[in-house]
């Protein structure tokens, strides 16, 4: 068993309490088999910015996977240009919901319409509950949420929850021609993503916001127009979405 033993013990206790509470008499061997805890997953993504060359296959696949209204994006690729000829570079920064450990959007939702799933850590929205107050849109430090003009609710990337629960990868991961994205379970030390994070220098976006993102980057260029690394250095960021400026 690879999971945290303490965690398993707690899950087992909870199971026994639950079965006791509903008054079900279970034979011992059955109980042991049934209480074998399904280890909780913690889905995350690792994006290798060195491998990204800005084909926008992820953005297109995401648009195709969901009925995303015109003018909005669930995921996109930003271009970061900097330097003065001939010492210049352009790097690419794919963006998507970070499915944070401490999601700012969840803690401000007044109706409980958005939450972080216990079983796999995906942050989801229930459209039937969401009233469209746009508080979560304000609270997300990554500008990942948008108001859907058709449903009147907040929407965002959900790691393709309908695909990953069926054992498939998210659409953007499958579409990426350069395999810049690795999707997997961060709680499983043997998963490809866990190994890659353990053996590479990785960063997350805006860690100072205290959200503890689950989307990691290798060689991401964190430069911003407003705070260039060298004073007065030329920097241009293009988000390639309707809102051209990063916010």
């Amino acid at each position: 068993m690879t999971g945290n033993p303490q965690h398993n013990g707690m899950a087992r206790r909870k199971f026994l309490q639950a079965s006791g509470a509903i008054g079900v008499a279970v034979a011992a061997p059955t109980a042991a088999a049934a209480s074998k805890p399904a280890r909780k997953k913690r889905y995350g993504m690792l994006i290798d910015a060195r491998r990204c060359y800005g084909v926008h296959a992820c953005s297109v696949a995401c648009k195709a996977e969901f009925d995303v209204p015109l003018g909005h994006n669930r995921s996109w690729v930003e271009y970061i240009e900097k330097g003065t000829y001939p010492n210049v570079t352009r790097s690419f920064l794919p963006r998507l919901c970070n499915h944070c450990e401490k999601p700012a959007c969840v803690s401000v939702c007044p109706t409980g319409a958005t939450w972080k799933r216990e079983e796999d850590g995906i942050v989801v929205i229930d459209e039937d509950i969401c009233i469209g107050c746009k508080y979560c849109i304000q609270a997300c430090p990554y500008d990942m949420r948008y108001p859907d003009p058709v449903t009147g609710t907040a929407k965002k990337c959900d790691f393709c929850v309908h695909r990953v629960t069926q054992g498939l990868e998210p659409a953007c991961v499958e579409a990426c021609p350069s395999r810049a994205r690795i999707f997997g379970d961060l709680n499983d030390p043997e998963s490809e993503i866990s190994k890659a994070i353990a053996t590479n220098p990785v960063t997350v976006l805006r860690p100072e916001k205290g959200t503890e993102p689950n989307v990691y980057y290798i060689a991401a260029d964190h430069t911003d127009e407003r705070e260039p690394r060298i004073p007065n250095q030329y920097v241009r960021v293009d988000t390639n979405r309707r809102l051209k400026e990063r916010r």
Partner: protein
């Protein structure tokens, strides 16, 4: 392209109106509880005007909030009732319940001031003071919560300041006082007419209101100074965000002219002009009606400008770096 403004005029008006009503009710209830003299005392007039004025702006503001909801835009007229199916630690959830209780108690409070209440009759008066005790914490709660609502998010550095809620509270109380002053100045019969004239009593309660407003405006100025100074001394996000209201910023004119000069300095100067002689030399305090009306109006304009600048500034600035 300019950043998208997700919270527009309905939310700005709501923040202003909820603060206005909360301030008026807090002032009215405290005047009732602390001021002696019963129904003929100088505080009673303040309490009565505040009681009738307070519920209306808050209910209007809440109605405007519903118009801003995405669900309302697509025809789910009553989806906002989902707010009442839960209570959590979201400032908006707490605010929803606070506002609901506020509207109930403020309406009940106003009811006790009716001359001949159809239900309860004379007994309604006995409920006045217990309800006033509820109104003070609820009114302060509503006024503070409007600032906490905005301040709760690290993603909006302009809003993410501990003194913003305090600034909103002070502005709420100040606009609440101004609303009562304005209504009194317009509705009290003038000298020479039958009934109440420009009696010494009218000016005595007017002095209390004007002096309170001057004090509130003075503290507001200090808080504005602290708000700007500590943001200016910070690094990163907050330092960049505050630039929007400093010289050269997009909202600098509205903030300094619309809020600080028109909303704070001008009324403070006029109020000082009328209060100092009474305070220092015990001269008569009897400002003309027109001055009372003008001062109240500019204080109200200032309160609206504060909400306008803060709500817009928070949304056109954001985190720096990625």
């Amino acid at each position: 392209m300019a950043p998208e403004i997700f919270w527009g005029l309905p939310v700005i008006l709501y923040l202003f109106l909820a603060g206005l009503g909360a301030g008026a009710l807090t002032v009215s209830s405290s005047a009732l509880l602390r001021g002696g003299g019963g129904e003929s005392g100088i505080h009673f007039d303040i309490a009565r005007y505040g009681a009738f004025l307070a519920p209306l702006p808050v209910m209007l503001g809440c109605g405007l909030l519903v118009f801003e909801l995405g669900s309302f835009h697509v025809g789910d007229w009553f989806k906002w009732l989902n707010l009442y199916k839960t209570i959590n630690l979201s400032p908006m959830s707490i605010g929803t319940w606070l506002l609901t209780f506020f509207i109930v108690t403020s309406l009940a409070y106003a009811y006790t001031f009716l001359p001949n209440p159809p239900v309860l009759g004379e007994k309604a008066v006995r409920l006045r003071r217990p309800i006033a005790w509820l109104n003070v914490p609820l009114g302060i709660g509503v006024a503070v919560y409007t600032g906490v609502l905005l301040g709760a998010m690290p993603s909006r550095p302009f809003w993410n300041s501990p003194v913003l809620a305090l600034l909103f509270l002070l502005s709420s109380l100040s606009t609440g006082v101004a609303l009562i002053l304005l209504a009194r100045a317009i509705l009290t019969p003038r000298a020479g007419n039958p009934g109440a004239a420009d009696t010494p009593q009218y000016h005595a309660s007017g002095y209390i209101l004007t002096a309170s407003d001057l004090l509130l405006v003075g503290i507001e100025l200090v808080i504005v100074f602290l708000f700007i100074m500590f943001a200016y001394l910070a690094v990163g996000d907050v330092r960049h965000a505050i630039a929007v209201i400093l010289a050269g910023g997009d909202l600098a004119t509205l903030f300094w002219l619309g809020f600080v000069v028109v909303g704070l300095l001008v009324p403070a100067a006029v109020e000082l002009y009328y209060i100092v002689p009474r305070l220092l030399y015990h001269r008569e305090f009897a400002p003309p009606r027109g001055v009372e009306i003008a001062v109240s109006v500019v204080v109200l304009i200032g309160g609206f400008m504060l909400r306008y600048v803060v709500v817009i500034a928070g949304q056109i600035t954001g985190p720096v770096g990625v």
